[in-house]
């Protein structure tokens, strides 16, 4: 019988394949080097990223940004490799183990401390010392680990509230909700319109989904230097935020798909006009324009909690040179170029929010960026620690327990705090 055996070996094989693939890739790249170096010492660097092959961002990268780089630096050839987001970290780590990774990587900001901790990234302290004032401080902070910088910020984003204008007017509101109280009342009214309608829909129970509510209620995951969770993730404010969401779910104001096992897509249902509110990032308007062009919608700040603050979550990517690279100088040149206006402007025009303070209110950027820029002024990063992926799992489990009624919000978050504390000291 073939299947059980192949399942058992799937793990090993996948790692091996990744290794073999990258080894072959770097071998080919090395061959490319030797053949071209005889005529005009050219260096080839590989750039791994998770851009969708069909997205405008990827087209711009290949047809505008990389050609511009090669015009400026004719001796460096850049090979861009698209790797699906969900397997990028796994592939990266498998090739790091084989000593044959890419030269430059576009990494999700939440992976940076984890990669820095194992020594996979080249420090950038000298570059940051010169360019610190060019970057927004929030995105730059995602490159810091234990007092050193690794890589540079590449793009940033956050989630704002998208609202459907038609549904809002059907429940008699002319303005979007600005507080969690108004949000709850309007969501309940929209859900009551139709059996298939929901006021608010969310994609899951990850930190990315839930933390904007916890922060807006005045709660937190840890203290500011990420050394303690007890007293923060189980503070009265954090508990109140989770109870608020569980209540939305129980009263049908929030769609049940966030518990999983469903093909329900909040973005699509919002596009069809079946959902009043979603929280989404700057990639959403071009998608809505493409698929649901007749939808009347607008963007506003995440509803403010009882304390009056509207705080969303910072997302984005950093660009970093891998310490296993054989061409660190060329790779660093490319990293510098990608964080300069020459690359940030064309990529910004297709929806990737720039990280340079000089591009604030720049007329070349899409107009809808203003909503995100405003939200970013108060947005917070998820805990910056090499144990982030574990902490995310613990938080997701705690939120699950509360939503499923298997524990009170207080008990679930107390237990999460206990589990997170030892991960922060490490």
């Amino acid at each position: 019988m073939q299947t059980p055996i192949s399942r058992r070996r799937f793990l090993e094989r996948s790692a091996q394949l990744a290794l073999a693939g990258s080894a072959a890739g770097s071998f080919l790249a090395a061959c490319g080097n030797t053949t071209t170096s005889s005529s005009s010492t050219k260096t080839t660097i590989t750039f791994w990223n998770a851009y969708n092959v069909t997205d405008p961002e990827n087209q711009t990268l290949l047809t505008k940004v990389i050609p511009a780089f090669q015009q400026k630096y004719p001796n460096i050839v850049v090979k861009s490799q698209n790797i699906p987001y969900n397997s990028l970290l796994q592939k990266l780590i498998a090739t790091v183990a084989g000593g044959a990774g890419p030269d430059v990587v576009r990494s999700d900001i939440i992976w940076m401390p984890q990669l820095a901790k194992i020594g996979a990234l080249v420090p950038t302290d000298d570059i940051v010392a010169q360019r610190k004032s060019e970057f927004y401080p929030g995105p730059l902070a995602t490159c810091a680990y234990k007092g050193k910088y690794y890589g540079l910020p590449l793009d940033t984003n956050t989630r704002v509230m998208f609202y459907g204008k038609k549904l809002l007017s059907e429940v008699g509101a002319s303005q979007p909700p600005t507080t969690t109280e108004e949000f709850q009342a309007l969501s309940a009214k929209i859900s009551a319109l139709n059996k298939n309608f929901y006021g608010y829909a969310e994609g899951g129970l990850d930190a990315w989904n839930i933390l904007p509510w916890i922060w807006s209620f005045g709660g937190a995951v840890t203290n500011d230097d990420y050394t303690a969770a007890t007293g923060y993730i189980n503070s009265p404010q954090s508990v109140a935020a989770l109870e608020y969401l569980v209540n939305l779910y129980k009263t049908r104001a929030l769609a049940p798909n966030l518990l999983g096992g469903s093909s329900y897509s909040p973005d699509d249902e919002f596009g069809k006009g079946h959902v009043g509110f979603i929280l989404e990032g700057p990639w959403e308007p071009p998608t809505l324009q493409q698929t649901y062009s007749s939808l009347q919608y607008a963007m506003a700040l995440v509803p403010a909690g009882p304390g009056g603050s509207s705080i969303s979550v910072v997302g984005g990517e950093d660009i970093a040179v891998m310490s296993s690279s054989k061409n660190i100088d060329a790779a660093t040149t490319f990293m510098q170029f990608m964080t300069s206006e020459a690359a940030q402007v064309p990529l910004g025009e297709v929806g990737q929010m720039p990280v340079l303070t000089s591009l604030t209110n720049d007329s070349r950027m899409p107009a809808y960026f203003s909503a995100f820029a405003q939200q970013l002024q108060t947005a917070k990063p998820r805990p910056v620690t090499p144990n982030y992926t574990k902490i995310d799992t613990i938080l997701t489990n705690a939120f699950n327990l509360a939503f499923r009624g298997q524990a009170s919000a207080q008990a679930a978050l107390n237990s999460a705090a206990q589990q997170i504390d030892p991960l922060l000291s490490a």
Binding site: M1, R9, F10, Q90, I118, G261, K390, N400
Partner: protein, 316 residues
């Protein structure tokens, strides 16, 4: 030194002769070894070496970066597993999943084999139909099940809820901590029936017809035929199926990885999904290697016990 033929001791001749035999045997089997060599080389490189490497890894706090230090931690990874509640939950899930799916596959596979082991209209068609899930990729059938069991608008939900009114309108399958694992069991059993059918068909056809004829002459009814002849003579086939299926059940990975990622709340976590997430999302490679070796040890023990228990000879 002079050696006459008379000086040769008997032992010396024997050794020489044996040596000559060995050379001849080697010459004769050389092509065989050469044919085996590429396969063995690949096996050694892609299977044996990683297996041994993982064993070494399980005693280290292994850093995937080859230039970084990996501290030796002795048995700490193994001890950590024994005090890790998620590991035990994954272990229980795997035992439960294996018990149900092995029993289900054997019973249904045998039933289908009995049905299709006779002259039947479109026999080949039905055999192909039952075998189809076996040759279909796990990822594909998993995605089909994700669609079938999707809550609120999936076909299963629609049929049981909106047509038969047996379940509430908002029933969640893969998103439920109690129903997600049973849903995966249905998938595992359904996919395995065809393989069991083929194995049992082969077993059934090796049972001599005379035994049935003689028993019928003695007045045995259908149940007696099955109970007294078919089942005992299928024992080796059943042993084989149980051992292979148990190893497969313990090694379940793809459907969980594709459909639930071990969730919700670790309710579908298996030893291998847990090892995978420890290695490739938390970078705890040493711990992941320890989990896979505990898994391998348990499967090895189970296979030994099963083969011992079911080895009794049947003679008629």
């Amino acid at each position: 030194m002079e050696i006459s033929s008379l000086d040769r001791s008997h032992a010396g001749t024997r050794i020489e002769r044996r040596y000559g035999q060995k050379v001849r045997a080697f010459r004769r089997y050389l092509p065989v070894y050469l044919f085996i060599l590429p396969g063995m080389a690949l096996f050694g490189l892609w299977t044996l070496y990683p297996l041994l490497d993982a064993f070494v890894m399980s005693f280290f706090n292994w850093n995937p970066n080859p230039v970084a230090q990996s501290p030796f931690v002795g048995l700490q990874n193994y001890l950590e597993a024994f005090s890790d509640p998620v590991f035990w939950q994954a272990f229980r899930n795997v035992v439960f999943y294996t018990a149900v799916t092995v029993a289900g596959q054997i019973i249904l596979g045998l039933a289908v084999a009995l049905l299709l082991n006779r002259k039947l209209f479109a026999l080949g068609f039905f055999r192909v139909l039952y075998y189809l899930p076996v040759v279909t990729s796990w990822v594909v059938v998993s995605l089909v099940f994700a669609f079938l069991f999707s809550s609120s608008d999936g076909p299963v939900d629609w049929f049981l809820g909106d047509v038969l009114h047996l379940i509430p309108d908002t029933q969640s399958w893969l998103g439920s901590t109690t129903l997600a694992l049973p849903t995966l069991m249905i998938l595992g059993i359904w996919k395995g029936i065809g393989w069991n059918m083929v194995i049992f068909l082969a077993g059934l056809q090796s049972i001599p017809n005379e035994l049935y004829e003689a028993a019928r002459v003695d007045g045995a009814n259908r149940w007696t035929l099955f109970h007294a002849i078919t089942l005992p003579l299928l024992r080796p086939t059943i042993t084989f199926a149980v051992v292979i299926l148990t190893m497969g059940g313990f090694g379940s990975f793809i459907p969980m990885f594709v459909l639930t990622q071990g969730g919700p709340l670790h309710s579908t976590e298996t030893l291998l999904t847990y090892a995978f997430s420890n290695a490739f999302s938390s970078f705890d490679f040493g711990y992941a290697a320890a989990i896979t070796y505990i898994f391998a040890f348990v499967v090895f023990l189970l296979a030994l016990i099963q083969i011992r228990l079911m080895r009794r000879k049947i003679e008629y």
